[in-house]
């Protein structure tokens, strides 16, 4: 998973030639799709709750279009994306509930045998649109079969105030971790601080902490799923974050996923990790102060650390259908319909680029270049590693993330409640409990 440049995409995908042609590619060949949904099918779909209303409205509109076209009835429900995980777990355990869930990350890898094999959908989409990003393929596949179809990622980029970064002495946003630290220190000095969630914030805290760990060469496990968290590379990452933490706005140890949005739009933050929603909300807000903030903000990818390659962790969204569904073919038809480029593109435009696509062929959507501020979100899946890196996705990777092992490690070291060495050792012991099973 370490390579995710065009060359690796070429290897992983089925339409490498198209990729080399860059954005604006055309399908290399028309893939075949043969699926006959069950007669009088009716499915229940549970998806993540919207952050951008227009996105959900378009999704519901597309769903309606699907029903009209196929005759398959769809009951669409939405829950906060963090609340979907328990519901998905219960559905898997009791064998009842929604037919299809659009959830997050490696959830499908916790109960792969309960899920519909969607290899045909993945192969169709891959062939039709020139191949998947390798990270998307890793989230979708268990062994040789696909158990989930990546929908994309609610991409996370650095959100920053242009004027504050300039006032801190940076004409360009720094691209490496050294420059990033200097920027945060300068922002603090100017009393326009940065702030990154360090509480039990599933999306934001895990996101930037994993980035920091990987940026310095640390990782929870190696390729053989052996825990290697207690390493000099991890300690280096912890030492770095300790310096970063000293520049943060107070209170980040208690932050959940919504705090940075609120603080940024209130003008208390100059730099944080978030989706495109802060900018979108600010832009459309009736509050002139928030509109001003949106005008003064821009986005950037996470800086590259000593490992010399992007190491982002993104909140990947995945479709997974349950075997308990009476209409598995209808489920697959729905996924295929919603992921077809025509429908996906229209939905992406409505969401203002909220979801980074899992198929590089979808990068030619004009929304990504309609405003340069949106563009950094386009390539989130190209830059990211999966949350089981460098090992497999499954129970252990999900448990380590769900139990906030990495976040707690950074919080302990950053706040001084443990030395970096102690924090790394303790976190490694916690991780071993999951990976020993």
């Amino acid at each position: 998973m370490s390579d995710f440049d065009r060359r690796s995409v070429l290897k992983a995908g089925l339409g490498g030639a198209a990729l080399l042609a860059g954005p604006g590619i055309v399908p290399v060949r028309a893939a075949e799709w043969t699926n006959t949904p069950e007669p009088n099918a009716s499915i229940r779909v549970l998806r993540w709750k919207q952050f951008i209303q227009a996105e959900f409205d378009k999704f519901a509109e597309q769903t309606k279009k699907f029903s009209e076209k196929t005759g398959i009835k769809v009951k669409l429900e939405a829950e906060s994306w963090e609340d979907i995980r328990p519901k998905a777990a219960v559905a898997a355990n009791v064998g009842a509930g929604p037919d299809l869930i659009i959830g997050t990350l490696d959830d499908p890898h916790k109960f792969p045998e309960k899920l519909i094999d969607v290899t045909d959908v993945a192969q169709y989409l891959g062939a039709q649109y020139g191949g998947w990003y390798p990270v998307a393929e890793k989230y979708g596949k268990k062994g040789n079969n696909w158990i989930a179809i990546p929908q994309g990622a609610t991409g996370g980029c650095l959100n920053y105030r242009i004027s504050h970064v300039k006032a801190a002495g940076f004409e360009q946003f720094p691209k490496d971790t050294d420059g990033f630290l200097k920027l945060c220190q300068a922002l603090k000095k100017n009393n326009t601080p940065a702030g990154f969630a360090l509480g039990h914030a599933t999306g934001d805290a895990n996101g930037w902490c994993q980035w920091a760990l990987w940026a310095f060469g640390g990782k929870v496990v190696d390729e053989k799923n052996q825990v290697v968290l207690d390493s000099p590379e991890t300690v280096a990452a912890l030492e770095y974050v300790k310096q970063l933490y000293a520049t943060f706005i107070p209170g980040v140890l208690s932050w959940n996923d919504s705090n940075n949005n609120k603080a940024f739009l209130n003008g208390e933050l100059s730099l944080t990790l978030n989706g495109i929603s802060i900018w979108t909300v600010g832009k459309t807000s009736p509050d002139p102060k928030q509109q001003e903030i949106a005008k003064d903000m821009d986005h950037a990818p996470m800086p590259i650390g000593p490992v010399g390659k992007p190491t982002e962790q993104q909140n990947i969204l995945v479709y997974y259908g349950y075997k308990h569904s009476k209409y598995p073919k209808a489920v697959k038809e729905y996924i295929k319909f919603m992921m077809d480029k025509e429908n996906y593109d229209a939905w992406e435009v409505a969401s203002n680029g909220y979801v980074s696509p899992p198929l590089p062929a979808y990068n030619d959507n004009p929304v990504w270049t309609s405003d340069p501020k949106i563009t950094p979100y386009r390539d989130c899946l190209k830059r990211c590693l999966d949350n089981g890196y460098a090992g497999d996705l499954g129970y252990a990777s999900a448990a380590v993330m769900g139990d906030f092992v990495v976040v707690d490690m950074f919080a302990e070291a950053a706040s001084g409640s443990a030395t970096p060495q102690e924090a790394a050792k303790r976190a490694a012991e916690r991780a071993k409990r999951y990976y020993q099973v």
Partner: protein
């Protein structure tokens, strides 16, 4: 004839047995108890037994677990986060329960007096209990917010502080903050229930004490407290149980953070079982709560309810 007579006799025998059974008080009593027993078994005994069983297995979400005996408990005994959650739970329960009792008793005594607008005041006291827990938890989350706290804002505006209090970002601040939220939520239950108990005490006892020249404190100590002790036992048992097993307040306000400083056993159990996918370990953490809860119940029923206490004696 014999061919016809035989089944008729058998039918008569069967009918009479069935009829006789329903004429039996014992049988009828047992029949009336069947629905109650079925409900108890289905909704109380079965989940409890399933929880015990899961705690002894390595069940993962969506999977079938193997029996592993006490391995989950052995593993938890080496888990520092689990022991931190045990400490947090005891700390949370002890402090919140003591303060809830003290404030609840004070309010109950106050509301038992002749006050103007007594009904309205009682309704106000009950309000925190009426508000759904999650809503009150969200309110507290805002009250404690590191950037938008109304408490910090007021103190800064009043010139008493220079910067916002980090209510939830510091481990000890966070512990006290969630204890306070629990107290606010739990006081009405204690106050209203104790008030109901106070109203059952005969005024003639106080009149007699007055005639004997008893002071307020003496009346409280020798009449109110002993007469109230059965209800105190019940209230405190429920209060301790509800506080010990609290989930919603913590999950909404801190999710167990910062650095697991507010993780209770209930929230850790959920985190390990559902978000972490390890149902076996989550169940084991829940099972580990049972000895504490049983101890609380035993303390209540064999301690506070001792008959001599109720009669005003020491033991």
């Amino acid at each position: 004839m014999a061919v016809i007579a035989e089944p008729v006799t058998a039918q008569v025998k069967r009918s009479s047995l069935w009829t006789r059974a329903f004429e039996s008080r014992n049988f009828l009593g047992a029949m009336f108890m069947v629905p109650a027993i079925a409900i108890l078994v289905l909704f109380l005994a079965y989940p409890l037994a399933l929880g015990f069983w899961l705690g002894m297995t390595d069940t993962k979400i969506g999977g079938v677990g193997r029996f592993i005996g006490f391995q989950n408990f052995v593993s938890l005994s080496k888990d520092s986060v689990f022991w931190l959650s045990v400490f947090n739970t005891i700390f949370y329960t002890v402090f919140a329960s003591i303060v809830k009792f003290a404030i609840g008793l004070y309010l109950a005594l106050l509301l038992n007096e002749r006050l103007p607008f007594k009904s309205m005041i009682r309704a106000i006291v009950l309000l925190p209990f009426v508000v759904p827990t999650v809503l009150s938890a969200i309110a507290f989350w805002w009250i404690y917010d590191s950037q938008f706290s109304i408490i910090s804002w007021v103190l800064i505006k009043a010139g008493l502080l220079t910067h916002y209090i980090d209510f939830l970002g510091d481990p000890w601040n966070a512990r006290w903050s969630v204890v306070l939220a629990n107290i606010w939520r739990g006081v009405p239950f204690v106050a209203i229930t104790l008030l109901a108990g106070l109203q059952t005490i005969s005024p003639s006892l106080y009149e007699a004490a007055n005639l004997d020249g008893a002071t307020n404190m003496q009346r409280f100590r020798h009449i109110t407290l002993p007469m109230l002790s059965p209800i105190i036992a019940v209230v405190m048992t429920f209060s301790v149980l509800m506080t010990f097993t609290d989930f919603q307040l913590i999950y909404t306000i801190t999710r167990g953070g910062p650095i697991n400083a507010t993780h209770l056993m209930a929230t850790l159990s959920f985190q390990r079982a559902i978000t972490g996918g390890n149902l076996g370990e989550g169940a084991a953490i829940s099972n580990a709560m049972i000895p504490f809860l049983v101890a609380a119940i035993l303390l209540s029923f064999f301690g506070l309810q001792r008959s001599r206490w109720q009669q005003g004696g020491r033991d």
